[in-house]
Amino acid sequence: MSRRESGTASSVDAREVAAFDAKAGAWWDATGVHAPLHRLNPARLGYIRDRIAAHRGRDSLGPQPLAGVRVIDIGCGGGLVTEPMARLGAVVRGIDAGAAAIAVARDHAAGQDLAIDYRVATVEDTAAEGGRFDVVLALEIVEHVADVGAFLAAACAIAADGGLIILSTLNRTWKSYALAIVGAERILRWVPPGTHDWSRFPAPAEIARHLRGHGARVTDVSGLVYDPVRNRWSIGRDTAVNYLLTAAVMRGR
């Protein structure tokens, strides 16, 4: 969820890192400040699994649909997505700029008997090391970075040719202002006020333009939609508030 200032050039916003690290202990409390993430987790995990399985021609409901797939989870926080990726068979690295988040993630994975390579690092650090992954995940993070263009450039740099970039974020629309800022932060108090800065929410077209510049073509944009009656999230067509985006990396084609 956050990223740290480091030696290399970085898209990290130091204030955001500090804000997330301050509540790192609550990552795995499904009723705490991260409760909304726990609730929307099954829907976004299903999307990620289906996109990767389809891309690689696998049965997404079969055993270990992600077996052997190299996945990096940027801004992994406590590992809410990182751990499920590992259970689905992927070879996973989780990076976060927040040292407290990585400590929580490592401790939790040990308790779950999962082998996950967690590192305190930024996406730029990883790119500088020459890391390459079949799938680059950037979930609920683009809206928190200081420089979206630099962030996406680094994300593309660590994706293997023929790989996927999957990200989720919030759209910049009147509806997202009403629901994510006024509704979720100020009225429902799902997340603390100030969690999001609406002016930083990127529209899908802006993401697509950045990605295209680095050889990644958007293959899908889907909405992550909340059903207040069933208190559940699902994948839908409405991308006006939360959306998920998949891009295929095809360099030199």
Binding site: A30, T31, N41, P42, G46, P63, E83, R87, G89, D113
Partner: protein
């Protein structure tokens, strides 16, 4: 005795009908489950253990079929084609006929010991490969699976989609529950322990696991006793079930295979002991005065049983790495014959939630998934508990105005086919947010 520590994916405490069905459902779905029960192996299937029969609603039969259990039960299942509801000796009655809805029967009657036998047979078929599972075996305790002996820890199954397994461990008493951040650990009377990602409390209305988890439950006693026995009769029952509302409470005549019927006779709690102590011929005479002679001569088959009737509702259905299933979550009045059906719906909902979770890489103890189970089941249970409670209060008395209103009400419902169909579909379990298993589908 040396301390034994074992681990598994999902531990089920309570090897009754619902606990075993949960074990079979989870093993079918690819989970590694262990059922622990304090009674000796196979004692539930012995004729002397449980004299009751269960009404299996249509949706429940579909679920049992999807779990591969119905094939073994079909020969022992008596279809119910009609239900006649009457108020005392009043001539007015409510008549449900399966032909109003289609070809399938309204439900089936199956004796509990037959159900238990079929579940045990299925459980043996799902028994894990001979991996060592060290579990406590004190004096007089026996482990169902003789291969289970060594002290090596069983590895937790963390990968998706490996073959599921079911292991039964009998004769162990749970004395403690420790709900940690990654596992819940059961401790047993002889000092052994079993750690699991998720512990399911299926240990009945007076669930000890529920107490250990600090989950409060409210209990209302109806001051009634359910007397249960099986009779054989000389005339055929023609697949008709009868429910009579007598002043002391409902009296149900439920058809079994052959010329036999299971009787559920509700009596005031202070009068029941006297009836139960009567010699056979006098007991049969008391029975006959309520039963009538429309099935010819009656002969008592096997012993009489009695069960105190009460309503127990747990305040919460889930805790940290803990879930309550069946009567441990909700013991309802048996007036509508829905106890086992309700337990099966718990099983189907929990199995679906856990399978959905595993398919996206979540583990069985994931709190958000357990919350989904709790929310799903709570609305269904509260509705049924309220209806059965109200029915019992309405019918368990002999006030003339109420009796007249009841009879008129039953007759009125009988004249309204649409309303009747709604009642019937509810009783058959085919309405609402029905879990996949209850629709007869795979998980």
């Amino acid at each position: 005795m040396t301390k034994r520590e074992a681990t598994c994916e999902i531990a089920i405490v309570g090897g009754g009908l619902v606990g075993l069905t949960l074990g079979v459902a989870l093993a079918n779905a690819g989970f590694a489950a262990v059922v622990v029960d304090r009674d000796p192996p196979a004692s539930h299937a012995a004729p002397a253990f449980d004299g009751r029969a269960s009404a299996i609603a249509l949706a429940s039969a579909r679920a049992l079929n999807a779990l591969g259990l119905w094939r073994d039960l079909a020969a022992d299942a008596q279809p119910i084609d009609q239900i006649r509801v009457s108020d005392g000796r009043s001539p007015l009655f409510l008549h449900y006929d399966h032909r109003d809805l289609g070809d399938e029967p309204l439900g089936h009657m199956v004796e509990n010991r037959r159900l238990h036998r079929a579940l045990l047979d299925r459980a043996q078929g799902l028994s894990a490969d001979p991996l060592p599972l060290p579990l406590p075996r004190g004096e007089g305790e026996r482990v169902a699976d003789a291969r289970v002996r060594s002290n090596l820890p069983l590895p937790l199954r963390e990968k998706v989609g490996e073959r599921g397994s079911l292991r039964l461990v009998n004769g162990v008493t749970v004395t403690g529950l420790d709900q940690g951040p990654h596992r819940a650990t059961l401790s047993f009377a002889d000092g052994g322990t079993l750690a699991a990602r998720l512990v399911c409390g299926v240990d009945g209305a007076r669930s000890r696991l529920r107490d250990m988890a600090g989950i409060a439950a409210r209990t209302w006693s109806y001051r009634q006793t359910g007397i249960v026995c099986t009779v054989s009769h000389t005339e055929p029952h023609r697949a008709v079930a009868h429910e009579r509302f007598l002043p002391a409470g409902p009296f149900a005549i439920l058809p079994l295979t052959g010329n036999r019927a299971s009787l559920v006779w509700t009596e005031r709690e202070d009068l029941a002991p006297t009836l139960l102590a009567l010699p056979d011929d006098e007991f049969l005479a008391e029975l006959g005065s309520r039963f009538g002679d429309f099935l010819g001569d009656l002969v008592l088959e096997g012993p009489r049983w009695s069960y105190p009737l009460s309503l127990t509702l747990a305040e919460r259905y889930v805790g940290d790495r803990l879930v309550l299933v069946g009567d441990a979550a909700h013991g309802i009045h048996p007036i509508a014959g829905q106890g086992f059906n309700l337990g099966l719906r718990d099983v189907a909902a929990l199995a679906e939630v856990l399978v959905d979770g595993r398919r996206v890489g979540l583990e069985p103890g994931d709190a958000a998934q357990l919350a989904r189970y709790a929310a799903w089941r709570r609305s269904d249970v509260l509705a049924l508990a309220a209806v059965t409670d109200a029915l019992n209060r309405l019918f368990s008395n002999d006030l003339a105005p109420l009796r007249l209103a009841r009879s008129a009400g039953l007759a009125a419902v009988n004249q309204m086919p649409a309303l009747k169909r709604i009642f019937m579909r509810h009783a058959m379990g085919t309405v609402g947010a029905v879990p996949r298993l209850m629709r007869g589908e795979g998980l």
